[in-house]
């Protein structure tokens, strides 16, 4: 029998500032060369588990450890971060926080510099490792000349300069677009095969990780291990949904079609999935049984953008001749890779930047003469990170800020703020300090703080980034509710689930131009669009083809409708 490289024995951990343990009685063995996915909703203890392996716990985040943990023969809770770092390489979630060097080469060399390696050896090692992760042509680049995916490659190279036996990835997909996420998973897979290291991936985006196979999935829930199984087995159970993890879409679709998921179907990946004729027939029948889609009447335009162009520098056009119209009461997604011009578009609409040419008509009125503030009472803008928007310590003050200087009486302000808080489900917390709120609640506060100004439209930048399934659903259902009350909602997003489940229409940007304006289902079934927008083809598309359904787009739409039905009735 092989000795495990990582071994937890009756291991518990409690943060110093918390009343209850975050990890409880963990028993887990990981063998050399295994690939293990640690999944679980936020707060389940999965990241804490990772921090125990690399030594951040208990050395950087103090607390009380009981039980034993051995990592590559080292007594982890007593060894120290420096000693463990020779055995475990960690790629953190935040690529900007981990990218410390001024250029790629320096950042990769960072650990070697600290170990006082001679320069010749550094140059050699950096060149070799950069080649492994395919970043060798960018050694002189600064971090902001790189995409999120490239920064992550640099981080990976930076930990691989030591001959570590374990590679630990903490939510590697959180900051990447779907295409980069897919490449990251492929790269991890390739590195693992070449070096035979042990790979541990902490992630809640299951379907994306399973793009390449893993040996085991450890499902965490409330500080304990809820399941430790092979992927095919785990996906055949209902444990994932029970613990707030989204199962792969193709499996949800098969379940809707009445197919029983069993390990024999090899459900772990869309590539391995083996469907018999009976299952395919069920899927086709389910598709045929679709109720007719009600054609939605076109909505009168609220925002009309015509021939909009803009560039930060004279020769560089960030946006070129963009025209579209958004109807009153619509819910629209704006997609495209980073740098495609999505954020610039929202800055132009909000008046943060002035267009070179083109017009923007809002509710029949040309916005050219409107100041930032005047626009804000028509169109609210919500930043991706609520912590960058919140400037007060109390919820009430934060929400009231936007209408403070409008000449209302204190009574009128109170009325308006409280009404907004009610709409956002924050009324019970109105006297709380913001620091006591969860991330999702903070997000709501920021939405409330723009809604209070009475906009007819809100633009949200990546509203669901980094959220697990439960928080994602919470935020999106809230936005859907707002939309039902008449607020037009525009979202800049990379989240393909969001597109499929919530926005009937998607605007696709690439290289500063609008390259498509159609339904989310159509976009995600179009290989060319998917590639140019840095998205990923939905697995439903592959499933439709596999089952011999002639019209994949209609199949995806069938799924969306069915899924909405299930959600609406509490599934």
């Amino acid at each position: 029998m092989t000795t495990p490289i990582i071994s937890f024995k009756n291991f518990s951990f409690q943060y110093r500032a918390q009343k209850r343990p975050t990890l409880l009685d963990i028993n887990l063995d990981i063998l050399p060369g295994e690939r293990v996915l640690i999944a679980g909703p936020s707060g389940s203890g999965k990241s804490t588990l990772g921090s125990c392996i690399n030594g951040l716990i208990p050395f950087s985040f103090p607390g009380e450890v009981t039980g034993e943990l051995t990592v590559d023969g080292v007594d982890a809770p007593r060894a120290g971060i420096f000693e463990l770092s020779a055995h475990v390489g960690t790629v953190l979630q935040d690529p900007d926080g981990q990218f410390i060097g001024l250029t790629v080469g320096e950042d990769i060399a960072f650990a070697l510099e600290n170990a006082c390696a001679p320069q010749e050896q550094m140059k050699e090692t950096v060149a070799r490792v950069a080649g492994l992760v395919d970043i060798e042509s960018h050694l002189e680049s600064a971090p902001h000349e790189l995409s999120g995916g490239q920064k992550q490659r640099v981080s990976l190279a930076g930990v691989m300069v030591d001959q570590v036996k374990v590679l630990l990835f903490d939510e590697p997909l959180a900051n990447l677009d779907p295409a980069a996420g897919r490449q990251a998973i492929e790269l991890i897979d390739e590195i693992q095969r070449k070096t035979d290291t042990t790979v541990i991936i902490i992630e809640h985006r299951l379907e994306d990780v399973l793009w390449r196979s893993v040996d085991r999935i450890v499902l965490m829930s409330e500080g304990r291990i809820a399941a430790d199984m092979r992927p095919d087995e785990l996906l055949s159970t209902g444990l994932l949904q029970a613990h707030g993890i989204r199962e792969p879409l193709y499996l949800t679709a098969l379940r809707y079609a009445g197919v029983e998921i069993a390990p024999a179907l090899r459900p772990a990946g869309i590539g391995t999935l083996t469907l018999g004729e009976a299952e395919k027939e069920k899927a086709r029948a389910w598709f045929q049984a679709a109720p007719d889609r009600a054609e939605e009447a076109p909505k009168p335009p609220l925002l009309e953008v015509k021939h909009l162009s803009f560039g930060y520098a004279p020769e560089q056009r960030t946006l070129r001749d963009v025209s579209f119209s958004i109807g009153r009461g619509e819910m629209v997604a704006i997609v495209g890779r980073n740098g495609a011009g999505k954020s610039t578009l929202s800055k132009l609409i909000c008046g943060f930047e002035t267009p070179e040419s083109g017009t923007m008509i809002f509710d029949g009125e040309d916005m050219a003469g409107l100041s930032i503030r005047e626009r804000a009472s028509r169109i609210g803008y919500v930043m991706q990170n609520p912590n960058q928007m919140i400037s007060k310590t109390m919820i009430y003050d934060e929400v009231a800020l936007g209408i403070r200087r409008r000449g209302y009486t204190e009574e009128q302000i109170r009325e308006r703020v409280e009404q907004t808080l009610r709409i956002c489900g924050l009324y019970p917390f109105r006297n709380w300090p913001i620091s006591a709120l969860s991330f999702g609640q903070k997000k709501r506060v920021t939405i409330a703080s723009v809604l209070v100004m009475g906009p007819q439209m809100i633009i949200l930048d990546e509203p669901t980034a980094g959220q697990d399934f439960r928080h994602y659903t919470e935020i999106m259902e809230f936005l859907r509710g707002l939309n039902a009350q008449g607020v037009t909602v525009v979202m800049i997003t990379h989240d393909m689930h969001l597109m499929l489940e919530y926005t009937p229409r998607a605007l696709v940007f690439s290289g500063g131009t609008l390259i498509a304006d159609r339904s989310a289902a159509q976009v995600l079934c179009d290989g060319e669009l998917v590639r140019r927008a840095a998205l990923k083809e939905t697995s439903l598309f592959a499933l439709a083809n596999r089952c011999g359904v002639g019209e994949p787009v209609a199949f995806v739409e069938r799924f969306i409708d069915a899924d909405r039905e299930v959600r609406a009735h509490g599934g």
């Binding site: 770092s85 410390i100 800020l401 936007g402």
Partner: protein, 277 residues
């Protein structure tokens, strides 16, 4: 704004660029100290000559640094104006004579001594200008940390400088997006607001910036510790370059200049060169 342009780094091939960062830093310091200590016009003119020659050798064109030049000229003019305004007789006090050139009301008569004194202040600042521009425009920021370390500054402090250069663009970007979102909510910093409101509004914009920066400090220090920063008493540098002949020459020149300027300046026991006696 990219990190390379925080300090307007202009890469190219030249004798000056080929010097190591350490040499340029040391030369820059020796030279500015020489300029700071002396008030001797002859020494100042000599230093100015060296400074201009070095600038020429760097192959950096004046129009590439025009923005800096204009800024410094405006600053110098204003500074001279205030020096004159506050004490038009500083020159006379220093040089001990009084040759009135232009009679203006009150104490504002323009004297040759005052003009000569202002010329010296201007020179004193001006000689440092080309060398300073060279130091920042011909030194790869990646070499800063290593350079500081090799002239005897602790590598931890050197690395602090590297971190500052690395994260300035990120913090600047954060500041812009935060202040735009605040403007949309009517938070202004302009003159229309009363002073106290302006300060309060500034705090409102700064708070999210500070909180996210403090969180960033935690993430970065964890990342650095996981990769062994601070493990040893020393550390090596990926981007450090070995000393060449020219580096030694430049250092000797810098040291000589400093020594010469001290000797010439204080030889007669007076920091000022006095043409009026």
């Amino acid at each position: 704004m990219a990190a390379k342009t925080v300090l307007n780094y202009l890469p190219r091939r030249s004798v000056v660029h080929d010097l190591t960062g350490t040499t340029k830093l040391a030369f820059f310091l020796l030279f500015t100290f020489a300029g700071m200590l002396t008030y001797d016009t002859r020494v100042l003119l000599g230093l100015l000559l060296v400074s201009l020659l070095a600038f020429r050798a760097s192959r950096i064109r004046v129009r590439e640094v025009r923005f800096m030049l204009v800024f410094m000229l405006v600053f110098l003019l204003m500074n001279n104006f205030f020096v004159f305004l506050f004490n038009p007789n500083q020159g006379t006090e220093i040089y001990g004579t009084r040759h009135v050139l232009l009679n203006l009301p009150g104490r504002f008569a323009v004297t040759a001594e005052e003009l000569f004194y202002l010329l010296n202040i201007t020179l004193k600042y001006f000689i440092a200008l080309p060398v300073a521009i060279l130091f920042i425009s011909a030194t790869d920021p990646s070499e800063f940390a290593a350079s500081l370390n090799s002239i005897g500054v602790s590598y931890r402090v050197g690395y602090s400088v590297a971190i500052a250069l690395r994260y300035i663009p990120d913090i600047q970007r954060d500041y812009h997006s935060i202040s735009q979102a605040q403007q949309a909510r009517g938070v202004e910093l302009g003159k229309k607001e009363p002073l106290f409101t302006r300060l309060k509004n500034a705090a409102g914009i700064l708070l999210p910036l500070i909180l996210s920066s403090l969180a960033r400090i935690d993430v970065i220090s964890n990342a650095m510790e996981l990769r062994g920063f601070g493990k040893n008493k020393k550390r090596t540098w990926y981007r450090q370059r070995p000393f060449a002949r020219n580096d030694y020459l430049a250092l000797v020149l810098g040291a000589l200049l400093l020594a010469l300027s001290i000797v010439i300046t204080f030889y007669d026991g007076n920091r000022f060169y006095n043409p009026f006696i």
